[in-house]
Symmetry: C2
Subunit: 449 residues, 2 copies
Amino acid sequence: MKPKIKKHVDRIHAIAGGHERFNPTDTAKSLVKLRGYDVGLFFSNLSKLTHQHLGEVLLELPADAFAAAAERLPPHRLARAAEAIESDEATDLIQDIRQADATLAEKILSLMAHEERREVLELSKFEEDQAGAYMEREFLAAHPDDTVGDVKTLIRLFRQNEPAAPIIKLFVTNDEGLLLGTLHFTDLILFDDATTIEEILQRGDRKAPLSIRPASPIADVVRLFEEYDLNIIAVVNSEGKLIGRIVYDDIYDMIRQIETDQAYGLAGVDDEAEESSVSRAAHQRLIWLLFNLVAIMAASAVINLFDATIASYIALAALLPIIAALGGNAGMQALTVTIRKIALGEIEYDGVSAAVKREALIVLANGLSIAVVAALIVSLWFGDIRLGAIVAGALLLNLLVAGTAGTLIPLGLHRLGIDPAVASSIFLTTTTDVFGFFIFLFLAQTFLL
Amino acid sequence: MKPKIKKHVDRIHAIAGGHERFNPTDTAKSLVKLRGYDVGLFFSNLSKLTHQHLGEVLLELPADAFAAAAERLPPHRLARAAEAIESDEATDLIQDIRQADATLAEKILSLMAHEERREVLELSKFEEDQAGAYMEREFLAAHPDDTVGDVKTLIRLFRQNEPAAPIIKLFVTNDEGLLLGTLHFTDLILFDDATTIEEILQRGDRKAPLSIRPASPIADVVRLFEEYDLNIIAVVNSEGKLIGRIVYDDIYDMIRQIETDQAYGLAGVDDEAEESSVSRAAHQRLIWLLFNLVAIMAASAVINLFDATIASYIALAALLPIIAALGGNAGMQALTVTIRKIALGEIEYDGVSAAVKREALIVLANGLSIAVVAALIVSLWFGDIRLGAIVAGALLLNLLVAGTAGTLIPLGLHRLGIDPAVASSIFLTTTTDVFGFFIFLFLAQTFLL
C-alpha cells in the first residue's frame, strides 16, 4: 500500500479506536481518497466506524460516494446510524438517501426505533429556509421543583441516551411543558444539591426567555443569535411548549446557506439545483439565460433604431461594449453594496436617502473620472475629439443611471417583499444597456453626423 | 412627544433599569431614531446606559452618529466603556474612534486602566483577517491541582471582574500557562468539591486540546469551528501558552466577513473602503472600473478589426450585445458556483476534472438551447436564416468558452494562491467578450458576405 493511502487507513483506524479526535469532514475526505484508490478499501473502512460516526461521515460524502455507500451498507446499519445522530442530521440523512433511492429511504425509516422515526417524519415537514429544518428534538429540560441533585441525574441520563447531542444550557419547563427559563451550567454549579431550580431562577434575571417557532425563517433566527450573541435557543410550538432547540453550529450552517443563496441569486443559479443532477442544474440555469436573452433583445432593438447612424459612422459599433461594460460594472458595485446593506439590516439605520445620496456621489465622482480617461483614449484612437466627447457624455450619464438603478432596484424589490438578490441584476443590466446605448447613439446622431 | 418616539425612550429606560433584555443592535436603532427626531434626546438617552451597554451600543451605531457620540461624551466615560466590554470589542471601539479622531483615541487609551490598555494595544496589531483581531483576552483557566471547589471560587471572581464575558468552557493550564485541556461545565457538575481537575481530565478523552495561533487566517478558524462543531477555542502563542479565546459569536462575525469579502470581491468593491468615506470608496471602486475600461478596449479593438464587415451588414452591430451578455451570464454562473465550491472546500473532494466536466456538460446543454432560441428570434426579426445560424454558432461556441473559462479561471487563480473572488470576473468577461465578438464577426465575414 502506498504511504499516502496508508496514512488515510491509519487515520480511520485511529478514529475507530477512539485515539484520534473525530472530524466528520476529514474522515469523509480520507474515505474519498481510499475510494479513488480501491473501492474495497472504501467500504471496509466505512464499516469500521461507530454508528454515530458513520451517520455524520455519510452526510459529508460527495453525492456519488454517498449513493454508493447507501446502496452497499446493510439497511439496518443505516437505520442505527440515523438513530445515533441528532434528529436534524438524521432527517438530512434520510432525505439524502431518498434522493438516491426512495424505496431504500422508506425501508430504513421502517427499521428505525419508533421515537427516532417519528422525529424524522416531523422534521421532514420543514423547508430548508425554516428554523424547523435545523431543530434538534434532543434537549435537556428540568422542572422548577427539581433540585440541582436531580439535574445531575438528568445530565447522566441524557449523556447515556444522547451521546451525540452536546449539553449547552438547561431549559426549565413546567408540568405542561411550557418554557419558563434557560440556565447556564455555571448558574447551577454555584449551588448545593438541595437547591431547587425555582430558587435559582428567582435569583437570576426574570426576563421572559427568548424562543422561536419552528416555521420562523432562518434569517430571523440568525439575526436573533447575532444580536443577542446566543449559542442556543429554545424552539416552542404555538402553545409555548418546548419542542426542540437550535444551537450555534446550526447557525454556522444557516449563515452559509443564506450567503450561498445570495451569491447564487445574483448569478442566476440555485443551490438545490446545483447540488442535484447536471440536467436539473442546467435547466434552472437555462431559465435565467432565457430571461437575459429576452432582456438583452431590448438593447439590440435600441441599437437597431440607430442603424443609419452606425452605418455612417462605423466606429460607433466598436464603442458600444465600452458603454455597456462600464455602466454594468458601476451598477453592479452599487447593487452589491446595497443588497449587502439590506441583508445586514444597515439600510434601516442610515435610511434609504442616505444610501442613495452616497451612491450618487460615488458614481458622479467615478463617472467624471472614467469619462475623462475614456474621452482621451477614444479621441487619440479614432483621431476625433467629437467622438471622444460623445463617449464621455454617454459614460457619465450612464454611470449616474447605473449607480441610481443599482441602489433603487434592490431597495424597491425589498420593499415589495421580493428577495433583491434574485432578480436585481437582470433589471440592472437591462437598464444600463438600454439607456447607455440609447444616450450614446442619440448623442452621436445629434452631434456627430 | 410623539408615541413613536416615546416608544424608543421607554425602551432605553427599560434597558437602563435592567427591565428589558439588552440587545445592542436594537438599542442603537432606537438611539438613531431619537437622533433623527431631536439630537438632545439622543445624547441624554445615550448617557443613561451603563458603561458596558454604552460600549456595545457605540459599536453598533452608524458612522455619523458614532462620530457625534464620541465627540460629545466625556473621554473618561468612553474609557470606562472600553474597559467594560470584551477586549476584542474594546479594540474595535478604539480603532473606530481613531478613524474619527486620532487624538481623542490616544487620550481615551491613556485614561484606560493599565491592563485593559495593554490588551487593546496588543490586539490592535492584528489584521482584520487574522484570528487575533477576534480574540478575547478574558478567559477562565484552572490548574490541574485545583479542586472543583476552587473552580467555583474562580467562577465567582470571574463573574465579578468580567461581567461582560460569558463563561463557556474551563481551560486547564499548568504552572507555565501551557494549555493542557478544555472542560465543559457539565464535566464538573457531576463531581464533588474535593475532586481535582487532574482527576476529571484523566477520566475524559485524553486527546490534545484543539487550539489556534493569533496569526491564523480567520478562514482556517472558521473551518475548525465548522468541522468540529466548536463553540470555543483556545488561542495559544508560539510556546503553547494560553493567551486568549475565540467564541461562537466571533465565528458568526467571521463567516459574515468572509462572505462579504467574497461578494464584494466579485463586484470590485472593498469592505473597508465601503465603510469609510465617500471619497475612499469612490477611489477604490474607480481602480476596478479603470481595469475594466482597459480590458473592454480589447473587445472594442476586435470589433474595429471587422469594421468593413459591419459596414456591409449593419444588423451585426445590433446583435453584438446578445453575444456578450449571454457569454458573460453563462460564464458568471459557472464562476460563482466554482468560487463557492473552492471556498467551501468541495473541489478537494470531487476533484478538478469532475467540476470541469460538470460545467462543460451544463454549458453544452444550455448553449444548444440558447442557440436554437436565439437563431429563431434573429431569423424572424431580420428575415435572414443565415444571420440566425451565425448567431447560433457564435452563441454555442461562446457559451462553451464561458463555461470552461468560468471554471478554470478561479481554479487557476486559487492554485496560484490568489483569491479567486477578487480577480476572476474581469478575466472572465474579457475572455467571453473578446472571443465572442471575434467568433461572431469572423463567422459573419466568412459565411454572410
